[in-house]
Symmetry: D3
Subunit: 327 residues, 6 copies
Amino acid sequence: MPIGGAKGGADFDPKGRSDTEIMRFCQSFMTELHNYIGQYTDVPAGDIGVGGREIGWLFGQYKRMRNSYESGVLTGKGTSWGGSQVRTEATGYGLVYFTQEILKHRGLDFDGQTAVVSGAGNVAIYSVEKIQQLGGEVVAMSDSTGFVYDPEGIDLAAMLEVKLERRGRIVDYCALVPRAEFHEQRHRIWTVPCDVALPCATQNELDEVAAETLVKNGVKVVAEGANMPCTPEAIRVFRAAGVAFGPGKAANAGGVATSALEMQQNASRDSWTFEYTEERLATIMKRIHQRCIGTAAEYGYAGDYLMGANIAGFRKVADAMLALGII
Amino acid sequence: MPIGGAKGGADFDPKGRSDTEIMRFCQSFMTELHNYIGQYTDVPAGDIGVGGREIGWLFGQYKRMRNSYESGVLTGKGTSWGGSQVRTEATGYGLVYFTQEILKHRGLDFDGQTAVVSGAGNVAIYSVEKIQQLGGEVVAMSDSTGFVYDPEGIDLAAMLEVKLERRGRIVDYCALVPRAEFHEQRHRIWTVPCDVALPCATQNELDEVAAETLVKNGVKVVAEGANMPCTPEAIRVFRAAGVAFGPGKAANAGGVATSALEMQQNASRDSWTFEYTEERLATIMKRIHQRCIGTAAEYGYAGDYLMGANIAGFRKVADAMLALGII
Amino acid sequence: MPIGGAKGGADFDPKGRSDTEIMRFCQSFMTELHNYIGQYTDVPAGDIGVGGREIGWLFGQYKRMRNSYESGVLTGKGTSWGGSQVRTEATGYGLVYFTQEILKHRGLDFDGQTAVVSGAGNVAIYSVEKIQQLGGEVVAMSDSTGFVYDPEGIDLAAMLEVKLERRGRIVDYCALVPRAEFHEQRHRIWTVPCDVALPCATQNELDEVAAETLVKNGVKVVAEGANMPCTPEAIRVFRAAGVAFGPGKAANAGGVATSALEMQQNASRDSWTFEYTEERLATIMKRIHQRCIGTAAEYGYAGDYLMGANIAGFRKVADAMLALGII
Amino acid sequence: MPIGGAKGGADFDPKGRSDTEIMRFCQSFMTELHNYIGQYTDVPAGDIGVGGREIGWLFGQYKRMRNSYESGVLTGKGTSWGGSQVRTEATGYGLVYFTQEILKHRGLDFDGQTAVVSGAGNVAIYSVEKIQQLGGEVVAMSDSTGFVYDPEGIDLAAMLEVKLERRGRIVDYCALVPRAEFHEQRHRIWTVPCDVALPCATQNELDEVAAETLVKNGVKVVAEGANMPCTPEAIRVFRAAGVAFGPGKAANAGGVATSALEMQQNASRDSWTFEYTEERLATIMKRIHQRCIGTAAEYGYAGDYLMGANIAGFRKVADAMLALGII
Amino acid sequence: MPIGGAKGGADFDPKGRSDTEIMRFCQSFMTELHNYIGQYTDVPAGDIGVGGREIGWLFGQYKRMRNSYESGVLTGKGTSWGGSQVRTEATGYGLVYFTQEILKHRGLDFDGQTAVVSGAGNVAIYSVEKIQQLGGEVVAMSDSTGFVYDPEGIDLAAMLEVKLERRGRIVDYCALVPRAEFHEQRHRIWTVPCDVALPCATQNELDEVAAETLVKNGVKVVAEGANMPCTPEAIRVFRAAGVAFGPGKAANAGGVATSALEMQQNASRDSWTFEYTEERLATIMKRIHQRCIGTAAEYGYAGDYLMGANIAGFRKVADAMLALGII
Amino acid sequence: MPIGGAKGGADFDPKGRSDTEIMRFCQSFMTELHNYIGQYTDVPAGDIGVGGREIGWLFGQYKRMRNSYESGVLTGKGTSWGGSQVRTEATGYGLVYFTQEILKHRGLDFDGQTAVVSGAGNVAIYSVEKIQQLGGEVVAMSDSTGFVYDPEGIDLAAMLEVKLERRGRIVDYCALVPRAEFHEQRHRIWTVPCDVALPCATQNELDEVAAETLVKNGVKVVAEGANMPCTPEAIRVFRAAGVAFGPGKAANAGGVATSALEMQQNASRDSWTFEYTEERLATIMKRIHQRCIGTAAEYGYAGDYLMGANIAGFRKVADAMLALGII
């Protein structure tokens, strides 16, 4: 039962540093940090500027300090030394599994639904992939330079070539897929009519005006893949219109859930397949949906995922604090 | 391989104490105890006066002392912080699974069998539930004030209402289920003819006279859900008559088996479903049956579960002692 | 991710010592060794002169030293206190699973293949058993005194009686199975024509001449069950002739793989069935085959298992060293 | 070599709390703190609101947490369970020993010197006691309500009765010692002519004007018993006038020095007499004086204790950092 | 501050065992015990059947278990590996130092005093040695077979030859020292007139009648070297008569005090000379005397060592319990 | 009781490396080593290529790894962070103290003795200083380029200038001290007539011929300051001639003795003065002398320091092994 979640960091700026300098910083950082963490104490994961490479250097130093190969002390490890499959895909896949639950709860499924997914990073790309696998059609994606509208559905292979291989601008997609249209104002992606809208780009990217447009165009579900992409005003619009709104704290939990799965694998010294890991992820997202919708109903806010997530989260922490005693 | 089992406690009497006093006692107790236990050393569980609430306070203090979230150090935890499903049902379900194995071994199953289950606590109630799921009929249950005979089979929903919700006397069952008869002398429950008798109430509740009556009425299997409910004389009667007798040390092992399952979940940082946990429990009860019956046969006491359980238990400890070396 | 593998030992000669002296040696050895090992540090297993009995004495002392039942600190434990099923069979079964993968890779299976298996110890015997289960026919086995040729296929029950029960010479097989022929020069077992040759007896038992004979007789696959049974010259002959050659470091990894499985069971406090353990072993052997053949192809040595195993092994260690940082 | 010194605390306000609440707070505080301190790691001592009583509760909880009686983990303990003698007197005595060294360095001693000591707490009272033992005469003391001037020298017994026993105002001293005069403006104590001025009351109690008056009246030495009682301007006046100025970081180090002596006693499981402890304290104060005056001279600031103390302190930390390596 | 004192042991009877068996028992005992002791936790010392040899075996095993040479974990070690000088003499010397303090308190010293010392073991012999060094005369000693009266004072060299070298009966002393008289009834040793009586033989050896005789003969001081040699009635007689009575809990504390000195030496990795150790012992005995007599006076029992020792002991434990907090 | 002494090292060659590279090597070395050492386990000191600077880097890393300031884990530390005074002088001073004991044992003292001291490093220089303080006259010293003979006694200030400040050749001494003669063949230093000869330069520097010359010239004492400077043949000559011979294992133990003193200071968190440390060193050297001469006499080799040292050393280890038990 991992309770909590805390943030910390260092004021070391890796820009302009050699690989060896970054490695030594990681080692020095862990030399001090190792006193305060542990596989049963606190388990850090990477974040901005701390990817698999840095996790490796941190873990290597932890191992040296403790003379002990405790894989579970860090997550985000490389797959050949304790890391989990599905890590790259986790947030995107998880978002779509969560959205699928919302649809099911309303008697729908992805089959035949039109979706708009903002962003073109890992979250957006793997959301699109999963939507397509589930029978949905994604007609628009964006990056910081604009958005493309592809009336026949995004050609994911082309998008991967543009964004991951060439690391180009999204306008280049139109060169590969001439049927697509490019638009410069990326926030206008929300004017594209859709059943499902998944903001996966950045904070505050979907405001009140965009929300009203989506509602007017008949959107059924909005679920946040980014952290807080919808403004409070936009959320109010969705709730007023009866649009199902999946808040990020629930909808994009796939990444941190995969950290927990990585810790499970480490605890049992196992190494799961991609398929099994994804199945576990899907189960977790279903349980989160169930917890949100159930708690919301229990407290008189039937159908309100935001209220459900907030109440369920608070209650989990509060119950645990009471159960483990006051000090 | 958990070997052993030891009992310990404190002379603190929670009666008349406030919740905070009890909590502080638990914390002080663990402040000293934590030096002697551990997830790989000794793992206490609750018992009289130590339920889930006290386990929480004990675990919370252990966590603080060690600065380490080692779930496996205690069992009987709450399900939201490491505890196991099926804990409440474990002894009752396990008893019936064990009994089912005895029946199977004799070419029978529960379908169409008539059972008498003494007691009305968790063991009895969940025994009845499982017997009914497996097709058997339970015609009598008891509490400290008497027993009820219900010729059409105990209506478990009614019994739950009387005993768990109202916390009333068993005679109230007759008010809800008019067809049932109430009798004041609870030990006379054993005069009710049955194929399967499961004493789940209290120590020494089934004596020689009761055993003779059961035998005369054609009982096929007697299995102990309580601790030592059958007197030595009663057991002698069953063995002489060729009635299969499942001793408590094997038949009611479902509770402690679930502690082991809880430790497994904790070790792998997993959280099993009710169904999976029950399936694991059923497998364990089958293995215990197999171990008893096999060992009994191996040592020339074919069919004698008591002998089988005693020899198998002794041998397991003795083998381990030899294997791990004399000091 | 267990990286590495190291060898160590003691100059204590158990010959002529009483059981108690050997036990005390094991205890003294562990009294010092326990500072340097651990379930997350280094995990020894038995080897020459260190069987299950000695592992028990070592483990018992470790447990006493640490006051902690960390099963994962040693492998090769007894099955009743943390050991794994399939340990005895592991190398033989694994060898045949690996060989089966080689055959499949060439579009074949064991059905109808004729095999020669040198040796009559655990590796050879359980290789034969598994080949027969998979539909192959083993026509020759050997021990240090010679080899038997059985044109109708080795009768494994008879062989077990001769070698395991009577601990006799292989010539006695012919007394039980009159159709079989005995030959004194054990290295001439390789003159028996076969599709699959599994040298499972001893180092350097299969030399250049034997290899040429096997090739001439149309052998398709040679896989090493013993450690380095084929001389470098023999291996050169097989590679030149296009015979698939499974080097021991890959083909006989079933034993050490089962140690890893034992550690997994210990980590999750579980106890796997024979069937499940064997299935996991088979999966591992398939993965090793895939890793060898894939790596070989990637580096331009398609079909060369020796090259594939060497490169894959080196790369795994090198990658981990880089990932965990230079110190 | 204790390097450093850090401050920390809690926002718990003991005012209005029962003794038991304060005790439980101390225990809870240590339950968390014990992970971060240790006799070889960091050693806290009391400060505002944390006296001997709280140190006892903190230490008791540390002992319980670690199951280990490591006296050296905290200082300021009670003398019957590891504390040091001379703790109450330490700062005052140390201040006078330091001042004595300054006098000696100038070819003087306390004999016949007139001193003014502001304040009436432990620092002031034990400064007066020690000055009198060394032959000096203290003619004025103060508290927050004013100061007394006693032309024949403060009668310490009378002052102790007023301030420690009766906990009264300093004006009451005049009732016991009629020859003394009371003045209401406490900062005017510095108008009393003296050879040695020891500000032991509070921060910023001796400003530029007071300093000029002292200089005019021929003061030879000023040494700080309180923390920063002299304003920067006052210090400039003393330095300009060639008055020896002992800064608090050196002059009032007697208290923290006694913490180090307490740790020494704990380390050697010894219990020193008052006399021996005082002798060690005196030696330390002499060494601090020597270090200040020596360093000042070495760096071209002969006779400047402030410069000497700053440079010596910086150099000690810097040298240690270099010696122990960069990380 | 060592608080407390507890007793424990084992039911292993070393009689009839070989040295190796006893050694192995010690090793096994420590293999379990080491979890519960430590240089800062609890520090055992030898007692009946556990001498320097056994302490060595216990310490050796502790050292192996912990891989750490923590001398302070046991006392009574051999002098070449951490033990203290003066251990053999400690109780006897301490008793006489304590008695000397009683005499001094009454304005007397040992010079010219006549003493009777019962017993002939270490306590008695080293008491006699120290009395003679301090100018007193010992005229009688005893063993279990009787007592000798030597009007010119015991010839210690002769007594040592009889009791330590020859291990003979005390009657043999008369053969070496013809002036001495032997008496068979050892309890009649108390009829010998004396100023100082030190019962150092055994429990209850000095009863009411003996006490009355001593009083009648003008005894001034009685101090217990054995554990509880004086009956409660005898003590009442001494107190009624105003004879100074030194109870064993204070008077024979020299042995346990030397354990504390051994721990001090270990803590500081030092090795004290005999002279220095004896001086420390003498200081401790003086402090105990002071504590007894001071506490007795404080509580209104001036001169009553028994009351003083009891109150001081209780208060020390009670104060520490309060100081370290209630749990 | 430090028993033993072991040597270890690394194949890292600091030549041509930057300070930072050497520091990082030290840190990496300790990152692994820290698992195997400890203030109560094994305590390394510097040796070739590992001086105070490297000890600092090693200690700093140990401190970081353990989060614990255990000064006693290494010796040879800087004096400002736990190191001992007299470390540089220890071997030379100790050698002369040992020699003084030899002289005393023969009824002599240094006053008026003529000495020859080979070498011009720390051992030789501080030997000369101490001899001169004790009243002896040193007439010759050497370096690898030759020796100087100064009939009026070496002018130590001049020698220090030549060897420590200028780091020049010994011939330069003659420029400063014109009365001195320079000779090129350094081994001919032993032709200088003397009462006391202290070979402090290098291994095997004093052979049979030199020994015979010394004997012929009337040498009374030879004591080894270097490690094994006298050849076995030379030693035989001295013993045959009745010259007192102090073997290095006893005579030059001053350095390692000071390591033990450093550990004592660390254990008691103390910091001794130069004077006190030297006094402790002198006491140790006297005890070593006493142990050698006493043991030699006890075993029938009166006056034979080599035999005494060997037997005493062996016996100390053997006694400890027996005392602590066989494993």
